[in-house]
Symmetry: C2
Subunit: 151 residues, 2 copies
């Protein structure tokens, strides 16, 4: 068992977890009280950050541990929960690369974070281009189709 | 408080957490007993996966919550723990994009995962190119320098 505590919370952005159109959403990640402002120092020198967050609105009973059709769409193949990014997943961890708009005191302003208002944030990491895929990226057609309206 | 359980473990690869030269390391992520093999179904149709793991060898006393020099190097600026990717971080979450070599029963074979043998894995997500940064990526010079020998 591994016990984590939120390092902050998402403030603002949308309050309903709709599937698509996340690209224009702006929000602030506000540090938890235990952290000094200096925890964010220098983040504004990066263009992007990876945010690991907790899907706290997903009921345990909804968690899928095997395979399912992405978004329940029978036109897409039955694939394992670890071959898709849906929220009803073991450990309920979300992960999103978003644009850094700026740091303002204890708040990190971001755009394109696919987490709703009030979401607990577990980590913030700067995107370094060396951590992006170092070979060409390939993916199945269903994933490309699913992502069409996402941002 | 958020409680997580490993969904698997890293088997193979190096056993010492050295800083550099991770690119050629190959390892297997073995599913925890509670998961069916179908949890990995279809992952082989993606070229890359993002692995979220737990730095279980980091002592709580080593966790940095404010700012520090990356790798303790005084030539690099004092930046917040959330503006760097070092392991001595709140919640001790690691995150790496690695190449998928194949799925074999309950094992996911990967290359370039910067986690040592025995590391608890908390999530596996397929890389969809739409989730990569959608704008040009920029970063400070110290990050580029630090990453020179990483892979």
């Amino acid at each position: 068992m591994i016990t984590l505590e939120p390092i902050g919370w998402v403030r603002g952005g949308r309050s309903d977890p709709l599937d698509d159109d996340w690209g224009k959403e702006q929000a602030v990640i506000e540090l938890a009280p235990g952290f000094p402002q200096s925890a964010l120092a220098g983040l504004e020198t990066f263009s992007h950050a990876e945010i690991i967050f907790f899907f706290n609105k997903v009921a345990e009973a909804k968690i899928e541990t095997g395979a399912r059709h992405p978004r329940g769409n029978p036109d897409w193949p039955l694939v394992g929960i670890f071959a898709q990014r849906g929220k009803n997943r073991p450990n309920r961890l979300g992960l999103c690369t978003c644009r850094i708009l700026g740091v303002d005191g204890r708040g990190l302003h971001v755009q394109g974070l696919d987490a709703i208002d009030g979401t607990p944030v577990l980590d913030i990491k700067p995107v370094m281009r060396e951590f992006l895929p170092r070979e060409p990226v390939s993916q199945p057609d269903w994933a490309t189709e699913l992502m069409k309206g996402y941002w």
